[in-house]
Each structure stands twice: as C-alpha cells, then as structure tokens.
C-alpha cells in the first residue's frame, strides 16, 4: 500500500511536470518547431489566453468554454500579428527574435498599463482527492489529460489532414508549395494562428492555478523552448518523448533534492541530451527507423 501510494505519487508528479512541459511547448512546437519563427512572445500568447479565459469565467461563462475562448482569442491575435508583421520575416527567421521580443515587451507592458498589475483569478475547480493520506488536485489530472489530448490532436491534424500536409509543405519549401497551388499565405496565417491558439490554450488551462500578472508568460518560455528543441526537427515525433524525459528528470530530482535540483537538473538534462543527440530526439528516432 505504501509502495503503491509512493508510486502513484511519483507518477502524479511526473505527469504533472509532463503536462506543464507539453502544454507550454505545443504552441511553440508549431510556431518555432515548424515555422522556424523564434517566438519570444510565446509567453504573451499564454498570457492572452489566461487573461481572456479568466475574464470570461469571472463573467459567468463555464470554465471549459472560457478556456476555449482564451485559445480562440489568442489564435486570432496570432493570425493578426502574422498578417501584419511575422509574414515579412519568413526569409530571415533570425530577425524574428528581435521582433517577437519587441512584441513581447509591448504586450507585457501594454497589459500592465491597460489592465493594471494583476487581475483576480477564478480559483481552481474540482477540488481534491486523497491517495495514501496525501491530497491531490483533481484539476491537475485534467491538465494531464489535456496535454495528452493536445498531443494527439496535433498529431492528427498534421499527419492526417490535408491542412497538415499543406502546412508542412508550405513551411519546408514555400515557393514550390505556392507553385503547386497552395495558398501559402493563408496556410501561414492558419499555422501561426494554431500555434498561438495552443499557447492560449495553455494559458487558459493554467490560469486557474496561477497568479495572473502581465509577466506570467515568462514562467513558461524557457521550458517551452527547451522541450521543443530537445524534441528536434520533427515536433510530432520529438515533443512528446522530450517532454517525457525532461519531466521524468525534473520530477525525480525535485522529489529527491528539491526544486533547485529539479530546475538545474532539467537544464542539465537538456545539455546532456543534445550533446548525445546533436539533432535532438527526432534525429535519433528517425535514424533508428529509416
């Protein structure tokens, strides 16, 4: 019994870290992993999702709908930004660092100016359950499920739908996709919008568990980038195992040596994995399969 509750606890912690990494990373996996746009404003899309969903929930919309609304608004904002700014930069992806950094500054400070230094939260729904004498949050199980569902959904979209195929084609060789009749400009908008919406979804999902302040996005950014990059070129192959490995390391070290060890361990794991697999996990998986 003690062993079982210990095991449950470890799985819960790993699953919790996994959910955080996956949900943080998914939007970035699309925008950075697929489109090559180094999106330093990723955290601000998360912020957008969190603020919109919280506001909607406080106005009485049911939480699941509020979260979807957060994702949708973030997605629309993403499409708008893509149209206005990002699309001019596909040929020089490195410049997106500066632009998205600028966007992030505008968004964070703009939020502070317009909405003040914080907004009230909604509280975490669903309460708790107990295993082996410890209380656990039910909502965090929901987050884990949401992470798995998001991964599956993305995989389906990108490998099983026509949009997914056209999106990947557009991003790999845009001018040829265009010459083959693909409306690449629409595809770019939709893809960027999808990435932004996923970030918004992350924000909406985590909003009930966090402090809502204009700088809250920064809590996600490093983890997101690290997960996507460790995953490697093929985000659908790479992101899930990357998140799993990093979550395992982080949860293990955190429970063994505390939060600092978990944080540093995560980063060291990143360095080690990339050193062993210089093309990320994807490179490794593909070599095994090909």
């Amino acid at each position: 019994m003690d062993f079982l509750s210990g095991l449950f606890s470890f799985l819960y912690q790993t699953g919790d870290a996994f959910a955080f990494l996956v949900l943080s990373a998914c939007g970035l996996a699309v925008i950075f992993g697929m489109m090559g746009v180094i999106n330093l404003a990723h955290g601000e899309f998360i912020l957008c999702g969190a603020y919109v969903s919280t506001t909607a929930a406080r106005m009485g919309l049911p939480l699941p709908l509020s979260i979807c609304l957060g994702a949708i608004v973030a997605g629309l904002v993403g499409m708008l930004l893509e149209r206005a700014i990002i699309r001019h930069l596909y040929s020089r992806p490195l410049d997106t660092i500066v632009v998205t950094w600028g966007i992030s500054m505008i968004a964070t400070q703009g939020t502070l100016i317009l909405l003040g230094s914080s907004i009230a939260g909604t509280g975490t729904p669903f309460g708790s359950f107990a295993v082996g004498g410890y209380g656990y949050s039910v909502y965090r199980l929901v987050l884990m499920l949401a992470a798995v569902a998001t991964l599956a959904g993305l995989w389906l979209i990108f490998t099983r739908t026509r949009f997914g195929i056209l999106a990947r084609a557009t991003i790999q060789v845009p001018h040829i996709a265009e010459a083959l009749g693909v409306n690449t400009s629409l595809i770019y908008s939709l893809t960027f919008g999808l990435g932004a919406a996923l970030a918004g979804l992350c924000g909406g999902l985590y909003a009930p568990t966090m402090t809502l302040v204009p700088t809250m996005g920064s809590a996600f950014v490093v983890e997101a980038f690290v997960t996507v990059v460790v995953g490697g070129a093929d985000i659908f192959l790479g992101t899930a195992p990357a998140a799993a490995i990093l979550a395992f390391v982080k949860a293990g070290l955190t429970s063994w040596q505390g939060q600092l060890a978990g944080q540093i361990g995560l980063l060291v794991a990143v360095i080690v994995v990339i050193r062993i697999l210089p093309r990320g996990l994807t490179g490794f998986i593909l070599r095994e399969r090909a």
Binding site: H175, A177, E178
Partner: protein, 240 residues
C-alpha cells in the same frame, strides 16, 4: 486544325531585384502542343519558367493563359488554373514522405480524396520506385528518385499545362526515355500542353517538333523538326 493559343507571352520582362534577366520574351504555345526551350547556361530559361508560373512577378509585358492576362496573379492562383510546374533542382519537400509530397500536388485542382487514390495509382504506374518508397522521407531519396517524385507530384493535380525545367536532369537514361514517352502519351490522351526546358537532345527529339532557342534573356530563334534532327545545327544555336 489550328488549336487555340493556350499560353502566350508578349514582350515579357522580368528579373531579380533590380537585375533584369528576361529582356522581352515573345512566345506562344497552342493547346495540346509540346514545346521545348533550349539555351546555354544562365540565359534565362529557368527565369522564364518562374515568370510563367508566377514565382517572379513580371516587370513588364504580359503573360496570357487561355486568352486571359495572368501576369498579376500569384503563383498559387495560376497553378489552380491548371498549370503544373516542375522546378529545376527538384525541390521536393524534404521532411515529408513520398506520398505526402504527392498529395500536395493535388492542390493544383483541389480535388477530393477519391480522385487521389486513382491518380496515385497512375503515378505509381509511371514511377514504380515511388510506390516502393512510399513512406521514405523525400529528402533521403537519391537525386533521380527525387526528380521522378517532382514530376509525379505535378501530375497528381491533373494540370492542363505543365512546365518542366530540365526534367531529365539526374535521371537514368531508360527512365528519361520513359518520361518522354509518358509525356507524349499524356499529351495524346488528355491533350495536356507541355513546355519544357531541356538540354538532352534525345529527349527533345523524342518529345517535340518545335523548340524556342533563348539567349541573353530573349527568344532568338524558333526551330522545327528538321533542324532538331541535325545535331550540329542545334549545337550551333547553343554555341556562343
């Protein structure tokens, strides 16, 4: 039985940034015709093809497709009119599988899934290696395999006009012959119009009776079957 003019350029000028390459190209291709474009390195053949499909905006002059001006249309709109383009250097989507590459080509006519299966079967018939390597990432195909994929890809969209930029490049001799045969067959069966840039005289001869010669960004001659039969005559056109 004169057929309608399908594709026509009038004093077409285009180029890269400030640098003009095409200096007023006039050509005209009739429905159901197969026409070759030849010329030395760097005279602007690929530039012409890119201007036809719309990857380069015209700086001047016009491009007419089935009588309508298409010079202002973006590439994907032109493609959807039924123009297929096989670029020089193949440009397959490297991190997508062979089938996925083929499916992208469908956008030319935006057809549905049912049709896709039939077309795939047809293309696998032309290029059996593509079926064999259906799930291999295109970037790891050999050069010639990629070229076959690039050709198969536009055929997926069932275009009515196809622009081929050096289709024989990197392809083994017997498949070059196959490709020439396939094009001629398709042309006969479906009436597809073909404009192709090529250096391989055997392929040119196998496919067409009419050929534009380009130099310094302009069409300098148009030659017919008799001249094409004469290797040395063609060479003279291509010499400096």
């Amino acid at each position: 039985m004169r057929k309608e003019v399908m594709l026509e350029t009038i004093a077409l000028r285009s180029g890269y940034g400030g640098k003009p390459v095409l200096q007023g190209v006039d050509m005209s291709v009739r429905q159901g015709e197969i026409v070759a474009v030849i010329g030395r390195n760097g005279v602007g053949k690929s530039t012409l093809m890119k201007s036809l499909i719309g990857l380069l905006p015209p700086q001047n002059g016009s491009v007419l497709f089935e009588g309508a001006e298409i010079g202002a249309l973006s590439a994907h709109r032109r493609a959807r009119l039924g123009i297929g383009y096989v670029p020089q250097g193949r440009d397959v989507f490297p991190r997508m599988s062979v089938v996925e590459n083929l499916l992208v080509g469908q956008s030319i006519d935006g057809s549905g899934q049912a049709d896709a299966r039939k077309r795939l079967g047809q293309i696998y018939g032309y290029f059996p290696i593509l079926e064999e390597r259906r799930d291999q990432r295109a970037g790891t195909l050999s050069g010639g395999q990629q070229q076959q994929l690039a050709i198969g890809r536009v055929l997926m969209g069932g275009p009515s006009l196809i622009l081929l930029d050096e289709p024989s490049e990197g392809i083994q001799p017997n498949i070059v012959q196959d490709i020439a045969r396939i094009m001629v067959e398709l042309n006969r069966e479906t009436g597809i119009t073909v404009v192709f840039v090529e250096q391989n005289l055997d392929m040119i001869r196998a496919m067409t009776e009419r050929c534009y010669v380009m130099d310094k960004g302009a069409v300098i001659a148009e030659i017919g079957a008799e001249v094409l039969q004469d290797r040395d005559a063609v060479r003279r056109y291509l010499a400096v």
